[in-house]
């Protein structure tokens, strides 16, 4: 059963289309990662689902109820949206009590959630004395207050120390294992990889991928990296490997070969036949980060279309560069893979 379903969901802010014709289904239960570059529309999507903003067009349902009537499902959702926000002069406990009363929740639940996030001992201190990590914990506590079936957390580990990150990750996994649905929006892909079962990737307000995280990583494929003893051999190695049918890219002194892990010996042999001595040869599977960058391109959402050093200018490598379709009138984006560095044609 889908806990969230959107159909051609669109939200515009003036000329900017933050969410564009989004069709997304999130199944009940488990931890789902919501990822995308800055400005991709993640926060807008969350705000739409929580009823903080209204859609320009399209529709969406949460728990089978329309998002235009969020009051009907708000009691089943807990959320931490962007940075945690509280009255700084009030204690952590008073802040949570205020929210508990607003939701009609018993005060006893406040102690429960403070214990869960490890803030019970500091709960009488004013929030203004809290570190960012403590505020983050308090934000998670506030989200947990209604004992929600759906938990939406935007950058939940922001400001936490490594032990805190592991702790919160464990908490999210526990909640997911209990059959609740946890949606985690984050830029920290290693966190997403460690905590999530499924993934939704959006860019420029459009859905690029939705499904099991393993599927996305598998799509990115395995590769082998080879480092020639003499750096000047890098280009030649790329060429001979490409001639053998293995697309290779040169990144500094490292040649990245799109080949299965089992092809490592063949790569070594090919290099030797060409008179190139390798000082390193490492087969490895793709990481979520690589899969994500392959899917979304290397453009930072902050910077707009990239001018990253080392990347070929648009059109010079025969590949289309992603365009920003946020603006009305610009061409719609197309999902495509683009080499991180100079591509050597086979």
């Amino acid at each position: 059963m889908s806990i969230i379903r959107t159909e051609r969901l669109t939200r515009r802010f003036g000329d900017i289309t933050a969410v564009r014709d989004l069709d997304l289904e999130i199944a009940d239960g488990g931890v789902v990662g919501l990822v995308g570059p800055n400005g991709s529309g993640k926060s807008t999507l969350i705000r739409l689902l929580l009823g903080l903003i209204r859609p320009s067009s399209g529709s969406a349902e949460v728990f089978g109820l329309p998002i235009t009537r969020p009051g009907r499902y708000a009691s089943r959702i807990g959320a931490l949206i962007e940075s945690p926000a509280f009255s700084p002069t009030l204690s952590a406990r008073a802040n949570l009590r205020s929210l508990a009363r607003l939701r009609g929740i018993d005060n006893g639940r406040v102690d429960d959630v403070l214990t869960t996030v490890g803030l019970l001992d500091r709960s009488r201190e004013p929030v203004r004395r809290f570190s960012l990590g403590m505020k983050q914990r308090l934000g998670i506590a506030a989200a947990l207050l209604p004992d929600p079936d759906l938990l939406v957390l935007d950058e939940p580990t922001n400001g936490l120390d490594p032990a805190g990150i592991v702790e919160i990750r464990g908490l999210l996994r526990d909640l997911g294992d209990q059959g609740r649905t946890v949606i985690v929006s984050s830029h920290v892909l290693s966190e997403i990889e460690a905590a999530c079962d499924d993934l939704a990737v959006i860019r420029f307000g459009e859905l690029l991928f939705s499904g099991p995280l393993d599927d996305l990583v598998a799509r990115a494929g395995e590769c082998i990296t080879a480092i020639p003893e003499h750096p000047e051999d890098g280009g030649r190695l790329s060429t001979v490997l490409a001639a053998k049918g293995w697309p290779a890219t040169l990144d500094g002194t490292t040649v990245r070969v799109a080949a299965p892990v089992s092809g490592a010996a063949a790569v070594n042999r090919t290099a030797a036949e060409a008179g190139i001595v390798l000082c390193a040869l490492q087969p490895h599977g793709a990481s979520l980060e690589e899969a994500f960058l392959k899917l979304t391109g290397r453009d930072s959402g902050d910077a707009g279309p990239a001018t990253t050093a080392g990347l070929p200018a648009a059109g010079t490598d025969g590949a289309e560069r992603p365009t920003n379709p946020h603006r009305r009138g610009s061409a719609p984006s197309r999902v495509h893979d683009r080499p991180a560095t100079t591509e050597v044609a086979p």
Binding site: R47, E82, S83, T89, S98, L99
Partner: protein, 262 residues
Amino acid sequence: MIHAIRGELTRLRNPYTLLGGVGLMAILGVVTTVIVFVSAGDGPRMGPAQQGVTVAVLEGPDGMFAGLQNAADMIGIVALAIWAVAVTSDYSSGLIRLLVQAEPRRLRLLGGKVAALTALTCLATLVTTAVVLAASPAIAGMAGVSTEIWSDGLLETVAKGYLDLTLAALLWGVAGLFLGMMTRSTGIAIAAGIGYLLVFENLLSLVLETATKWLPGATFSALAAGGSADMAYTTALLLGTAYAVAAIVAAATVFRRRDITA
């Protein structure tokens, strides 16, 4: 809506609001009372006692309220600030995201805030009235004003004085709510409120004397004073209520439709 009221009251129960807001109102009430009593003469005077408070007035049955009536505008400004901050701080801190997510029925949320702020304002004016009344005999003695007939109809006088002050403070507060909702900025809301009600309206009255007596600032002042030469008490009450309803409807409409992007 009861949940929204309880949630808002919990947040208002912080030392800055209680000691700062309520304390400031009480201090303004006492200081103005001292000035009014000390500066009172045999004839009408200008200055803080702008309504021409004379010793005879101060020695009358409602003389103890003369200072509070003169302080009503300043107390009103404090109320305006408290209400405006209650709205704008939700936006500036980002707390509005949590509140609207917890209670998406925004009119209930706003209704709870209005009810909680009304309760706080009533408490603040009650404390202010009590402090000023407690200090008044000593202030009168210091200024050489007789208090012999202050006890005549004391309860009725106190109830009426408290009611007028509270109603006026509530109207100022609603103005703060309106400005806070429109601007979402504490500084701009308070500056606009003070600028309009105390400066702009007074300047306008120099040019358009007849029309300005119906404007909000004049209405609030008339209500606090239990009626004035320009406006009967009942008229001030009705007009003030109309202003308050219009301001709340406008604020509610904006809040209900506005995107929460803070």
